[in-house]
């Protein structure tokens, strides 16, 4: 396997324009001769499906949900970045590019990030034209707010539901093309394998989640827009059904997996409260603008928050980082919360929480102001915890939120498997080792609306793609392999449920490959993952049958993939013996306990190649070349 990032020559600001000129085009009349399968209907998938169909390609889109509108992009709260510079505060494409590379702790690919910043403005234009009701000022013009990791206001938003509105826009565009016949939509259809013929991705096997029927679908190219792998941890802010299966199947068929150890742990989530817990809920990062984070100074101080006097509280972020205080970046805020809880100073019934206190802000600004800023979040908090955050400080704790790693892609967003593309969170290229707030929506839509529709033509027009049918033996083999695995899962009839195994795996990863990672811990995890996986295949109990709506079977099939993926994640974390962004190796820290990057050794993308079950994967390295941004150690003191 050879990694060729295909970064165009020339100055960074001209790369995308010149690339679009240099790639091969497909004549308008010929586009209808090409078919593309798009898996996933979130921001990236719906945008890509709609735009490819507008161009004239034949598109088949797949989602496991009952409707394309359910994808988890819908849950994004904060907003979407763009370099419009409407507030006149000095923003530019170059600044958005620079902030994003720096925010990613210098582990992303410059050319891709620049392009992202470049198309950000077109995204806003398009979304406004789609009738997305963005927040506006009294003059009728678009409002912006500021967000983490930036010193300008460049975030466009629709209340606290920006992801919802952008997704509904993309879903509308998709619906328009479904109506016109350009897209065939397959709902309640889970992609269970990628079919490769003569080294090219040529189709998929899909399972109808209502009838259990396996179906074969052939195309000239396959696009994965299937999201991240955060649910490997069992508890995360992801939706219940988010999974890594399509990406993992693609990996096993020849697509390299990049930086699987990069995981974003978001600092402000509602803490775990019991072993029955099924997911974690995010509280917008914006709360840190007015809330003060603290824990008791003394270990095991279990008095109610209001009874702990001021001088017995430790506002640890303000103490350690006086210039940034409570507004340090996500990775720092998370790590410090873990640290004080590990010291035995955490609060709440589990001891795994810190206070986010609004008392000072309420006194300074008045309850009304706080209510107008954060009312909906306070209400959501109260609904879940039954505590009134106007009276009692919120309890928060970090939670797995986003995954920066994913399938390795070149500048065209093509994986190392020819004809297979990866868009949005499922690829790796734009966020390095840490994603900035309001950048995920930007990337999903950039990939779907603007990047892929301008690059896929190069492959379709230049590759030799012979005509094949679903009767090709590769389809039969893939389908049989899927059927065998489902039968195997159903036949075990063991004594433990799928969730039970998933929870065990998640807890192991959280402890050893979560916010802090050490060589010893990672090695323990590696050993235990194979034990859990072995036990899974002997003791899991999957009720029901394969030819019916069977949610336990769906889950088991996904968890079986997580069991394999987890190993690669830990291996990657072990191989990267430096700290960067969300990846904190305890052996690699500064004297003050901050993340210590080792640019001489690790300024590369790790891309793992599958060599067969039970065999060691091969690590390929894409050296990261920084021509624009100067590498520096981040400091927030």
């Amino acid at each position: 396997m050879k990694l060729d990032s295909k970064i165009p020559d020339g100055p960074i600001a001209e790369k995308w324009t010149s690339h679009k000129f240099n790639v091969k085009l497909v004549n308008p009349a010929n586009k209808r001769k090409y078919s593309v399968i798009v898996v996933g209907t979130g921001l990236a998938g719906a945008a890509a499906s709609a735009t490819l169909a507008e161009l004239g390609y034949i598109v088949e889109a797949f989602t496991y949900s009952d409707s394309p509108r359910r994808a988890h992009s819908i849950a994004a709260q904060g907003g979407i970045n763009a370099a419009k510079n409407y507030p006149n505060d000095g923003d530019s494409i170059y600044r958005l590019f620079y902030d994003t590379v720096k925010g990613g702790d210098f582990r992303s690919r410059e050319a891709n990030v620049y392009r992202l910043a470049e198309v950000s403005n077109q995204i806003i234009d398009h979304c406004v034209a789609q009738g997305i009701p963005f927040a506006r000022e009294y003059g009728g013009y678009l409002d912006n707010r500021s967000f983490g990791g930036a010193q300008v206001s460049r975030t466009f938003y629709a209340r606290g539901q920006t992801g919802q509105q952008l997704l509904i826009g993309a879903y509308g565009a998709l619906s328009k093309e479904i109506k016109k016949g350009g897209v065939t939509m397959h709902t309640r259809s889970e992609v269970v394998d990628v079919v490769v013929i003569d080294g090219q991705a040529r189709g998929i096997i899909s399972r109808n989640l209502v009838t259990g029927e396996l179906t074969r679908h052939v195309a000239d190219a396959v696009v994965l827009a299937t999201g991240g792998y955060g649910n490997v941890f069992f508890l995360s802010t992801n939706a219940m059904n988010c999974n890594a299966s399509a990406a993992w199947r693609a990996y096993k068929k020849g697509a390299a997996f990049a930086n699987p150890c990069y995981t974003q742990i978001h600092p402000t989530c509602i803490p775990m409260h019991g072993d029955y817990q099924s997911k974690l809920t995010l509280m917008s990062e914006s709360l840190r603008n007015d809330g003060r984070i603290w824990v008791p100074k003394a270990k095991g101080d279990n008095r109610p928050a209001n009874e702990i006097p001021e001088d017995e509280r430790d506002y640890y972020l303000e103490r350690k980082y006086p210039s940034f205080g409570n507004l340090v970046p996500r990775d720092l805020a998370s790590r410090n919360a873990k640290q004080v809880c590990d010291e035995g100073r955490g609060v709440g019934s589990t001891g795994n929480a810190v206070y986010l206190d609004f008392a000072d802000a309420i006194e300074r600004l008045g309850k009304d102001v706080i209510e107008s800023k954060y009312g909906n979040l306070f209400e959501m908090y109260e609904r879940i915890t039954d505590e009134d955050p106007y009276v009692t400080p919120m309890r928060i704790f970090p939670a797995v939120h986003y995954t920066m790693g994913g399938l390795w892609v070149d500048y065209n967003l093509m994986t190392t498997l020819p004809g297979l593309y990866a868009l949005g969170e499922v690829n790796f290229s734009d966020h390095g080792a840490n994603r900035l707030g309001a950048s995920a929506l930007m990337q999903g839509l950039a990939d779907g609306y603007f990047v892929l529709p301008s690059t896929i033509n190069d492959y379709l027009a230049s590759a030799d793609i012979p005509k094949v049918g679903t009767d090709h033996e590769a389809f039969a083999e893939a389908e049989q392999a899927v059927q065998d695995r489902l039968d195997q899962l159903l036949a075990i009839k063991g004594t433990r449920t799928v969730d039970d195994f998933h929870r065990e795996l998640g807890q192991l990863l959280w402890e050893n490959c979560g916010m802090g990672r050490s060589e010893a811990g990672l090695k323990i995890a590696l050993e235990k993952i194979s034990q859990i996986r072995e036990a899974f295949w002997k003791e899991v109990n999957v009720p029901g049958s394969a030819d019916d709506l069977n949610q336990a079977l769906e889950k088991a099939n996904r968890v079986a993939d997580f069991m394999e993926f987890a190993e690669l994640m830990v291996k990657d974390a072990l191989a990267r013996a430096e700290s960067c962004g969300g990846h904190f190796r305890e052996e690699s820290q500064t004297d003050e306990g901050e993340a210590l990057r080792k640019d001489d050794e690790f300024a590369y993308v790790s891309a793992w190649e599958f060599n067969g079950l039970g065999k060691e994967p091969t690590l390929h390295k894409e050296e990261l070349v920084f021509e624009e941004v100067k590498l520096s150690q981040r400091s927030y003191k």
Partner: protein
């Protein structure tokens, strides 16, 4: 503080194409801090270990925004907690030894697929008839070209909040999708971007709704009470005005 309670569930079980029935299950030692769906998870774990099939129900984000979840709990869509989805209902709303009756969303176009899962694809079909602005990627003018009155943008956003869960249809005695359709039509009619297609949009979406067997509106207002986002019924009045205007001016 949370406590543990025992509740009895009376749950609708049904396989696709077969007759359904209520079955009784005991949920024991449920922490009142657990969410309703977490309680269902616990019951399902127990059923699985007892060799029975778990209760099928639909859910995804568990944050009240994806619109996947929904069931009729003790006669109310999404349960008794107003303006919230089923996933945001918590067990502290119940008492020890309560009986909880759980049924799927029922409406003529919502065929039961299994237990509490129903087919809501009719709502997508209505959207396909015009629940969007017809703009191709690349067509858009600069975003700040058209200022939009803040109140209009806010009213549009109020309507655009719909999560497509189908509770309005299930709560309506006629199984009407008027609130759902009206929310979408309103979102676009309130913004200049939606104006060029407003006539066709109103006609086509309402016609599709009728064609699929959704009932008509008889002003019961149950939809707006059931709506987890509190979408206002005045959107229905707006849709009616749009539809009448469209019927009078259309030449089809």
């Amino acid at each position: 503080m949370s406590e543990k309670i025992n509740v009895t569930l009376k749950v609708w079980r049904q396989n696709r194409g077969e007759k359904g029935q209520f079955k009784i299950y005991q949920a024991r030692e449920i922490d009142t801090a657990a969410s309703f769906l977490e309680m269902m998870d616990i019951v399902n774990e127990q059923l699985t270990l007892n060799g029975e099939e778990p209760i099928a129900f639909e859910d995804d984000c568990r944050e009240g925004i994806c619109g996947c979840c929904g069931a009729v709990v003790n006669g109310k869509t999404h349960g008794s907690h107003e303006r919230t989805t089923l996933c945001q209902l918590h067990m502290r709303k119940f008492k020890n030894n309560d009986q909880i009756v759980i049924e799927p969303f029922r409406a003529k176009p919502f065929q039961v697929l299994k237990d509490l899962i129903v087919d809501r694809s009719g709502l997508d079909a209505i959207i396909c008839e015009g629940g969007y602005v017809e703009v191709k990627t690349g067509n858009a003018p600069e975003a700040a070209t058209t200022p939009i009155k803040r109140e209009l943008a806010e009213a549009s956003m109020d309507a655009a909040q719909c999560i497509g869960c189908g509770a309005c249809v299930a709560a309506c005695p006629n199984g009407s999708a008027m609130l759902f359709t009206a929310a979408k039509v309103s979102q676009y009619v309130l913004l200049p971007q939606g104006h060029p297609e407003r006539t066709q949009r109103a006609l086509n979406m309402v016609n599709k709704m009728d064609e699929l067997g959704f009932g008509s509106c008889s002003n019961e207002y149950e939809c707006t009470v059931a709506c987890p986002k509190g979408i206002d019924v005045k959107n229905i009045a707006r849709l009616n005005r749009e539809f009448i205007k469209a019927s009078l001016t259309s030449h089809s």
